[in-house]
Amino acid sequence: MTKTLETKPYVIESKQKECEGIYLFRLKTPGLKYLPGQFFQVWAPAIGEAPISVASFEDDYLEMLIRDVGDVTKALCKLNKGDKLHLRGPYGTGYPMQWFENNQVIIIGGGTGVAPVRGVAKYVQANPEKYKGLEFFFGFRCPKDILMKQDIKEWQKECKVNLTVDKKEKGWNGPVGFVPQLLEKSTIDNKQKIVALCGPPVMINKCIEVLKTKGFNEDQLYVSLERHMKCGTGKCGHCMVQEKYVCCDGPVFRYDKIKHIIDE
């Protein structure tokens, strides 16, 4: 059997419900090396595989945010502590964290798109001396959909976390609107900054427009693209965006390298 098709089982250390239908799985993964922004093909035996991105950065542990949206992820979300997740990977490029050094890292995420960029934040937190801190811009549909609440609380102690929701609900006193509007109102400039973005395409495009008006250069922006990779090895064609294979050439791209294809 082709080596690249082999999966390895990892024990679920904990499973936390983030909101309705979205769970954060923590796996014990001794010796497994990965980078934030990379992804794994996760197998639900007898159902199929789904590409899930890494949401953490930690030796011997791996966290993944899984939403029960398709056949595979529905089966995965039924698993509990002590069960096993079958992974093959990691695949893809990941965020080039070394290139981010000596910069403040601006993290922009929308909905479940916060998962890959959470890994970036965790990496920066694990190597604080190399970076000039973090700032977050997160957007969710409504207050009850806010993900990573625990982390947000932690991050708020050390840095600025800008949070917005599309729809207001009782008990919400924060901003209402989309992430680009939140960015527009902020006072960030482009000095010694790198931006890591992940979220719906509309959000990414609008955010980039705003960031440009704030003086950001295109090579300061790193985007993680979402596609449904079936093989992860640059063959099946499902993740092709023009000449790029998101699974191998990405999923993380520097914006100036893909701006000509992003709207395809």
Binding site: L5, P45, T73, C231, K235
Partner: protein, 312 residues
Amino acid sequence: MGKRLEKEGLDKFLKNSSKGGILVGPVITDMLRFQEIEDAGEICFEGNPTFGIKKFFVPPKNPILKFKGAKLLGVETPKKTVIFGARLCDTNSLLKTDQLYLNDYPDEDYKTRRENTVLMALACSESCNEYAFCKSMNDIGHYDLLFVDKGDYFYVDIGTEKGQRLVKNLKDAQETLPDIYPSTRALNKHNIRAYLDEKHWHKDRQNCLSCSRCSMVCPNCLCFDVTDVVDITLKNGERVRKWDSCQLKNFTTVAGGHVFREARFNRFRHFVFHKIQYFAEKYGSHMCTGCGRCIKHCPKTIDWPKTINELK
């Protein structure tokens, strides 16, 4: 130097070459198709089958592994196969498939199939359809052996060591290899990066039905879907790669239902540009051998190479 094989000796030659394996050739059943044959008498020497030989290397439904519960097992290795009568458009297409399947993350199943297969190509004396443009695709001609029809006999050109071993008992030919491509029309632009815009493709765009026939008959189209197919236990089964097409709307659907290449034009453009632009940018050759099948079998006969030739 080439070899000479009398036509009456073909059957014996093919039987000897395929000992211990299977022999495949173009035969007329409900249509002209490649399938396993017993005797050279079954072979049809005219025309080019609708479906090329890609099905022997990347089958339409290809089990790549088996699973018992969560345990993964290998699948059987395909048998030794001799393919006779494939045209150069089909054999050349394998060089492109190699790029994809043997470079990054090499695929064992494909590699075994390639190693276990002998390619005996058949040169075309004339263009097999009016849409072909194979001569202009600058492919060098990839085969183990190439058979050129010379009336009473075949001139046999040797392409590889594998082929050499099979013909060492044949007589030497007294001539040299003729032009192995038939005269066809030409694709006169090999870089179309500047023509991404919809306005250049107006006519084809309106005609395309997104039926995906083009990608099914294409010897180079390799996109596939991956699914787990279970048996009656619902626990054991196979992981199967199935041919898929970028022309179908759900090809780029992601979790939650968003479709990235939703507009029909975007899908049509991806087909053409993947063949003539994107693949060449990465691997240096086109993902097209100019066989013309995609046009011949298109329900609207969309002649995209003609459109390319007329681009200004």
